[in-house]
């Protein structure tokens, strides 16, 4: 495991060295070029690189990075693994580190992002190289920043400080809209602040090293601090700097915006092209006023393109969704082997499990629905045997093909709660969920006529090692 990347720049350099970064020096327009290039990256193969622009029309020194997490290769490098690490290996490594929680914070007193300070006449439209992602978006969104807040009722408790990624619509020179749902930890901070009649201080860190971005996208418990999880993920204490208001900000951030969620204010926000591949619609959402912007010299703005899946956002919500579901399932059913919740933030979940007795798989499927994340997302759960790799869809489809008899293997439960962003909801927030039992029936479930399954010839492993070595040599 490689050590921590101290900032986004160091990660971009590492991606470059691994052949996973394209640098565009030609002049580009903010629209439609930025989004078009990012979308194109999703269409050019499995190991698509990050992209870095340094000549954006109208800006003097803007730099934009996109698709930084946008392939399994980049995801592996972010975790400090070999770039060709298999999805399954990335899952088990992510889970292993996840269970080491908590790590520690390293508090220092200065950071590169303090180099340039703007504390009057803040105009985010001129400071940040903003651009529209999708043509129906209601404006320009900061969509890959870590928003940091504390609980006004429990201010000195580090464990309830929160680092989360929420979409932020830039609505005025120093005015942002923020989208949160009640399940988000910041929603608790906002509710406490509004009950007290106070504004909620926030810091917004843009352009971070790759681990804290993944942690900001992970559904941690309210009392788990993302920095402490980032520390175990990167294998060393997580370095932060405190703002004057007392919020901890990643040392390596490129830009830091400081401001307040305005008490009791709601304004029109959206739409925004969201992770299910549909626009979100417009709502009245809370508002943040920015008082101060700090940034590094020649800052790099990091953004995530959101389009019809798969795009970069799907990598941000992949292992970060699968691991917590797996660990919660495992507490109830130690037989569970692995969980693939990679698809559209876990709207579809594939679980592989040992089978205790006939009918067991359906209970595993039901338990997925009652995990914290499952309550609002898991809609279709596919349960497969322990020897089927849930990350290999060819194997999953084989299991569905031969092990499912719809007469007894499909369970639907009507009218369950679901995230509003799932467009299949009817009415909004309510959906029917389904469990597909794609495991082999075992006694006393004696359905079907399953004889002996085919297995692999003796010496296959030795031959695989030999042939892989030969191929690697030949392709050098």
């Amino acid at each position: 495991m490689r050590g921590a990347y101290k900032d986004l720049r160091e990660f971009l350099t590492a991606l470059d060295e691994e052949g996973q970064l394209l640098r565009i020096h030609d002049q580009v327009l903010p629209e439609p070029d930025m989004a078009a290039a990012a979308c194109a990256l999703t269409e050019i193969g499995e190991n698509s690189p990050a992209i870095h622009f340094d000549n954006i029309a109208g800006f003097t020194d803007a730099r934009i990075a996109m698709n930084v997490h946008g392939s399994w290769c980049n995801h592996a490098l972010a975790l400090g693994m070999e770039k060709d690490a298999a999805m399954r290996d990335q899952f088990f490594e992510f889970v292993r580190r996840f269970q080491l929680y908590p790590g520690t914070l390293e508090r220092v007193t200065s950071a590169p992002w303090q180099e340039v300070v703007i504390d009057k006449d803040v105009n985010l439209f001129e400071i940040l190289p903003l651009f529209r992602l999708n043509r129906g978006d209601g404006g320009y969104f900061i969509d890959k920043a870590c928003t940091i807040s504390r609980d006004l009722d429990d201010w000195d408790n580090d464990d309830v400080e929160n680092v989360g990624i929420y979409r932020l619509q830039v609505k005025g020179p120093n005015r942002l809209g923020i989208q949160t749902v009640p399940q988000h930890d910041i929603a608790i901070h906002m509710a406490h602040a509004e009950e007290r009649g106070e504004d909620l201080p926030v810091a917004i860190a843009i352009g971070n090293e790759p681990i804290i971005t993944l942690m900001g996208a992970t559904p941690l418990l309210y009392t788990q601090l993302e920095y402490k999880m980032a520390a175990v993920m990167q294998g060393s204490p997580y370095r932060v700097v405190r703002t004057a208001k007392g919020l901890d900000v990643p040392w390596g951030a490129e830009y830091v915006l400081e401001g307040r969620v305005l008490c009791g204010v709601r304004e029109t926000e959206g739409p925004f092209g969201e992770f299910p591949g549909y626009y979100s619609g417009c709502h009245k959402y809370p508002v943040i006023e920015i008082d101060r912007v700090s940034h590094r010299k020649d800052p790099v703005y990091d953004a995530v393109y959101v389009g019809r899946p798969w795009t970069e956002i799907d990598f941000l919500q992949a292992m970060t969704t699968s691991a917590p579901i797996f660990l919660q399932l495992k507490q109830t059913f130690p037989e569970v082997v692995a969980v693939n919740a990679l698809y559209t933030h876990g709207l579809v979940v594939v679980v592989s499990t040992k089978i205790r007795y006939g009918g067991f798989a359906k209970y595993v499927g039901l338990r997925v629905l009652t995990t914290t994340h499952g309550l609002g997302y898991a809609k279709v759960v596919i349960v497969v045997d322990e020897d089927v790799d849930p990350f290999d869809l060819k194997q999953v489809m084989w299991a569905i093909s031969v092990k499912v008899n719809p007469a007894g293997d499909i369970v639907t439960i009507p009218n369950l709660a679901e995230n509003l962003l799932d467009p299949a909801c009817s009415p909004g927030g309510i959906v029917t969920k389904m469990i597909i039992d794609a495991t082999t029936p075992v006694a006393p479930d004696v359905r079907g006529d399953y004889g002996e399954e085919l297995d692999r010839p003796k010496n296959t492993d030795q031959w695989r090692t030999k042939l892989q070595g030969m191929l690697k040599e030949k392709r050098k």
């Binding site: 030609d26 002049q27 580009v28 327009l29 903010p30 629209e31 439609p32 070029d33 290039a37 029309a57 109208g58 800006f59 003097t60 105009n123 985010l124 439209f125 001129e126 529209r132 043509r135 129906g136 209601g138 404006g139 320009y140 619509q169 830039v170 609505k171 005025g172 020179p173 809209g177 949160t180 749902v181 009640p182 929603a187 906002m190 509710a191 509004e194 009950e195 007290r196 009649g197 009791g264 709601r266 304004e267 029109t268 926000e269 739409p271 626009y279 417009c282 709502h283 009245k284 959402y285 809370p286």
Partner: protein, 86 residues
Amino acid sequence: MTSPTVNITPSACPRCRAGELRTLGKSPVGGVWTIFGCSTCFYAWRSTEPEENVDPDKYPAPFRLRPERLADLKTIPPVPPRRSST
């Protein structure tokens, strides 16, 4: 890899056609683009964007808004009641 663009000074919001507009920002390199904003629906656009984002007549129908409907938008989260002072 720039595309053909327009540079329209707006008279109405492309999305909701309200007339109260403001200039939100100008390109740090002078004269390249201006960002406008609608004070009614908060739509924002850059003068150099494709026509469908800057011209009210070409703005896509599925994304249009009517100012009188904005008050009906759902408020998320609702503003909680203030705690009573003791």
